[in-house]
């Protein structure tokens, strides 16, 4: 049938020329290409010793933040747990005592805060949901482990280290 666009090209296989049938010129140019890589700088990152820098919007392990006075910001509102599409976050709220004012910023705080790293999909919705700027996914890669129970991270692993006085 007649082509309307006139863009159709009919390809006819060309018979190989003598040089092409001899393979050798093509092989020589191939050898030249590979040897040109011989002394190039390797692209390898030696992982455990060297780490590639993460991009700025990288989402890694969660950390629960402290405010400028070193108090935990989390108020155990549960919005992160609600927003989590993978049901990875759970917490138990508690009321702040008078002598704990230097530990928790709000009157209510999370006495238990757990994230199941096997469920977590690192979508960052908890970070977006948090009204207190208490949770950020700014950590490194979550390390491997042997038992499922060890992937449930509690406050001991999630809360930032206390500020240095």
């Amino acid at each position: 049938m007649e082509s309307l666009s006139n863009k159709k090209k009919v390809l006819v296989p060309k018979p190989l020329s003598l040089a092409e049938r001899m393979y050798l010129p093509a092989i020589a140019s191939g050898l030249k290409t590979t040897i040109s890589h011989f002394l190039k700088k390797p692209a390898t990152v030696k992982y455990p010793e060297q780490e590639r820098e993460f991009s700025i919007n990288w989402r890694g392990m969660h950390s629960l933040k402290r405010d400028e006075q070193g108090r935990e910001r989390c108020t155990a509102c549960g919005l992160c747990a609600l927003s989590c599409p993978a049901e990875a976050i759970t917490m138990i709220a508690a009321e702040r005592k008078n002598d704990e004012k230097h530990l928790y910023r709000e009157e209510k705080y999370a006495s238990v805060y757990e994230i199941n790293m096997l469920r977590c999909i690192f979508c960052g919705l908890c970070e977006e949901a948090c009204p207190k700027e208490a949770i950020y996914l700014d950590g490194p890669i979550v390390p491997a482990d042997y038992l499922r129970k060890d992937f449930i991270y509690g406050k001991d692993k999630l809360v930032e280290a206390p500020l240095e006085k």
């Binding site: 092989i27 050898l31 590979t34 890589h37 002394l39 390797p42 390898t44 030696k46």
Partner: protein, 351 residues
């Protein structure tokens, strides 16, 4: 005298055996390093500085693996296969002249296990036997992929042996001898009587054919059809494990070493190098021949590097292309080479 002779040869054979195994071991390491460098990677670098203990670690791993013999395999032949492959690979080095005669403590020691006057034929015989190891192993595994691979290996080796033999005939027209010792000593120095002495410059086409056939005989890329993973699940050594598999892999590397040696000896002057007479006059009869051997090994390593370089450059041939190249390409070319060589020799000798 007799006991001296036996001790001398015994030491030489032991040394050769150790050197072949060592070179084969480090060829596996070099292969991975060369592959890595050609692909902008680092290669193995964890075991020891720069990973030089990697072959050792690989060897220990091989030994520690469980040895599995398939239930329906022919147990005896299953065991003979890798042994035969290894044996044929190792005995090839016996007739290679590794250097000129060395004088050690007033005694003249020949750096060659034996100078048989059909040395070249011996090499060919040993190389041809090598395929039996593959064939027997592939058949005894009682696995259709292994058998297919073994058949491929056999037909490939037989096809390319013809072209290889024909390319050697042209060389024999030039050298007039089958003894490797004489062939190498004819290539003395680098330049004599207005032409290069190395056979490569007298037989460039013959060398090319020989080299292509050597790639095919050692089952190296681009002719590694007997062990192409994609089609045959690993090839003739698919059912093998532990050190039996290790023997097959090792034999392949020793074969590569032997064919590099043969190419260096036949076409690139063996232990000869430009300015060797000057060195011989100044360094004395002990060190000058040993330096020649060193040069020989450098040539061998260059060829081994070339083998690896080609492996990481050229993709595998299709089976019909392989056969087409062997039967329709190399064999007619080798015959033409014989005719041309004969005519040129007749002209040079008579005019």
């Amino acid at each position: 005298m007799e006991i001296d002779f036996v001790i001398e040869k015994f030491i030489l054979i032991t040394a050769l055996f150790a050197i072949s195994l060592l070179i084969a071991m480090y060829s596996t390491y070099a292969e991975r390093k060369v592959a890595a460098f050609l692909q902008d990677r680092l290669g193995p670098d964890r075991a020891g500085p720069f990973g030089i203990l990697q072959p050792l670690a690989d060897g220990v791993k091989m030994f520690m693996k469980e040895e599995i013999v398939p239930a329906n395999a022919n147990k005896w032949l299953f065991m003979v296969g890798p042994g035969l492959a290894m044996l044929c690979a190792c005995i090839g080095t016996a007739v290679i002249p590794w250097g000129q005669d060395v004088q050690i403590a007033g005694k003249t020691v020949a750096l060659q296990v034996t100078d048989i006057n059909v040395g070249l034929l011996y090499i060919f015989g040993v190389i041809s036997l090598g395929v039996y190891g593959v064939m027997i192993g592939g058949w005894a595994s009682n696995n259709k992929y292994s058998l297919l691979s073994a058949i491929r290996a056999a037909s490939q080796n037989i096809s390319y042996e013809i072209a290889m033999g024909l390319s050697i005939i042209a060389l024999l027209l030039v050298t007039n001898t089958l003894s490797l010792k004489e062939i190498v000593s004819q290539q003395h120095g680098f330049w004599a009587d207005g032409w290069f002495t190395w056979n490569f410059f007298k037989q460039p086409l013959g060398f090319l054919i020989f080299m292509v056939c050597a790639f095919a005989e050692t089952n190296r890329a681009p002719f590694d059809l007997p062990e192409c993973e994609a089609e045959l699940n690993g090839g003739y050594h698919m059912e093998y494990s532990s050190m039996k598999l290790g023997f097959y892999l090792f034999a392949e590397y020793i074969n590569m070493f032997v064919s590099s040696t043969v190419m260096a000896a036949l076409y690139f002057g063996g232990y000869n190098y430009p300015g060797m007479d000057y060195i011989a006059a100044h360094w004395g009869p002990t060190w000058a021949p040993l330096f020649g051997s060193f040069i020989f090994f450098m040539k061998i390593f260059a060829f081994i590097f070339f083998f690896m370089w080609v492996r990481w450059t050229i993709p595998r041939f299709r089976y019909d292309q392989l056969m087409g190249l062997g039967w329709k390409g190399l064999i007619p070319l080798a015959i033409a080479n014989i005719v041309i060589t004969g005519i040129v020799i007749a002209i040079v000798n008579n005019f």
